[in-house]
């Protein structure tokens, strides 16, 4: 039976948006921690570690995210590990994010000129002091724009979790569309909601970039 699009549906969409944001947040934090490890392994002066990290990055970046989602959602139960859609989505999006964030951060670290290391060294700073007071502040500033750019992609990519039945914004839109048959209204609202989240992130990025250059 077809019903009208109502305020209740809007509330349902907003609630689903909460899951979209939460999933992106979990993936950003999980992917961030894992990505830090990837970046470190990738830059360590130890070949096997570099190789391991690089293989991981190639594997994750070279396969579709949807495939990774399916592997965790349908594959793990075959091994006797039961996972619900939320766990499968969190794990696969975290892994996906870690490969990209790890590379962004490695690149940012390495793009700080080696002369900055030397300038710190020639003033008698220890290795850790050079890293924390000279290199990292510059690397972080460089990494802000690409990191936030990736997070915007991540927010949009959470929609793939709809395909394993996780009720986030896209899945919720499908459900309401089926009931109201008002796809234009429903997906229009969903698009606006995605835009608001992503646009806020971009604004945040610009504010951070300004802040990190300003006198403190």
């Amino acid at each position: 039976m077809i019903r009208e699009f109502s305020l209740n549906d809007l509330v349902f969409l907003l609630e689903a948006l909460r899951w979209t944001v939460l999933l992106a947040l979990v993936a950003a934090v999980g992917g961030g921690l894992l990505g830090l490890l990837v970046a470190i392994l990738r830059t360590l002066a130890f070949r096997p570690a570099n190789w391991l990290a690089l293989s991981y990055i190639n594997l994750v970046q070279g396969t579709p995210l949807l495939g990774q989602l399916f592997v965790f959602f349908f594959g793990l139960p075959l091994l006797g590990v039961n996972v619900d859609a939320w766990v499968a989505a969190s794990i696969s999006l975290s892994i996906y994010a870690s490969a990209f964030l790890g590379e962004i951060w490695r690149g940012s670290l390495q793009s700080v000129s080696s002369r900055q290391w030397e300038a710190g060294a020639s003033l008698g700073l220890t290795y850790m002091q050079r890293l924390t007071h000279v290199i990292l502040p510059q690397a972080i500033r460089i990494s802000i724009a690409p990191t936030v750019g990736f997070l915007v992609q991540l927010v949009k990519n959470t929609s793939l979790a709809a395909l394993i039945g996780f009720v986030e914004l896209t899945r919720a839109s499908q459900i309401i569309t089926a009931a109201t048959f008002a796809p234009l209204t429903v997906y229009g609202i969903a698009a606006v909601l995605y835009f608001v989240v992503c646009f806020s992130l971009s604004q945040l990025s610009q504010r951070l970039e300004r802040k990190y250059h300003a006198p403190r």
């Binding site: 002369r115 900055q116 008698g124 000279v134």
Partner: protein, 243 residues
């Protein structure tokens, strides 16, 4: 005991020998200009003295610290041997004041107030008191280089190493940096500077070292060495840079 003592130092990058047995001593208060063709090993020698490059053989002692000994405290040495580079290398994320204060706080363990007042004094000395809160990218090359000198001098080093610090500057900015160098020299600082400014070498340095193909080819009092070179290599080098 000499302040700097190099004995038969050999350094190569991969299979390419760059320093082929350098021996030299430097007394406290001496001002030495290092000259020579591009690729003759001038920068490498300076970087070895500051422990930025490790050597394959030979002995380097600076201010009583033997760099070439295993486990030498390179950071302690570098806090006493200041180095200024051709490319200034200021910290771009820090203001002028913070650039100078950083090592005072982290290495010298000074309080913020003490570090700040010393930083202000040093920056004033290089004539940039009005630029304390500026960021490096808001300064001209000459100004950045003067801040870099102030940053090194603030550490109160016993020795200063300068590697072609005016080479990247527009000609009209060279003078202001050389004047700062002269005032540092007048205060009795021990200095070793790689330079292509022959007039400066002649007028300010006590001694000139001419490097050629990884060796010290001539070493003598500045005026005499420059006006009456003993070897053909120095003669041809001088005629190339002076014309």
């Amino acid at each position: 005991m000499p302040l700097v003592d190099l004995a038969d130092v050999h350094k190569s990058f991969g299979a390419v020998p760059v320093l082929k047995g350098i021996s030299l001593t430097l007394e406290k208060g001496e001002i030495v200009a290092v000259i020579g063709r591009s690729g003759s090993g001038k920068s490498t020698m300076l970087r070895c003295i500051n422990g930025l490059e490790l050597v394959q053989s030979g002995r380097i002692v600076v201010d009583g610290i033997e760099l070439t000994a295993p486990g030498a405290d390179l950071n302690a040495l570098r806090a006493r041997a200041g180095m200024v580079f051709q490319s200034y290398n200021l910290f771009p994320h820090l203001s002028v004041e913070r650039n100078v204060m950083l090592a005072l706080k982290l290495v010298r363990k000074m309080s913020t107030e003490d570090a700040r007042s010393l930083a202000h004094a040093m920056v004033a000395k290089v004539g940039l008191a009005d630029k304390l809160s500026a960021f490096p990218d808001e300064l001209s090359g000459g100004q950045q280089q003067r801040v870099a000198i102030a940053r090194s001098l603030a550490m109160q080093p016993t020795l200063m190493l300068f590697d072609e610090i005016t080479s990247a500057l527009d000609p009209e900015l060279v003078g202001e940096v050389l004047r700062v160098l002269e005032s540092v020299a007048e205060e009795g600082m021990t200095m070793m500077l790689v330079t292509h400014e022959m007039n400066f070498a002649r007028n300010v340095a006590d001694r000139v070292i001419f490097m050629h193909e990884g060796r010290i080819h001539e070493d003598g009092p500045a005026r005499e060495t420059l006006s009456a070179p003993r070897t053909d290599e120095l003669k041809s080098f001088l005629s190339a840079v002076l014309h």
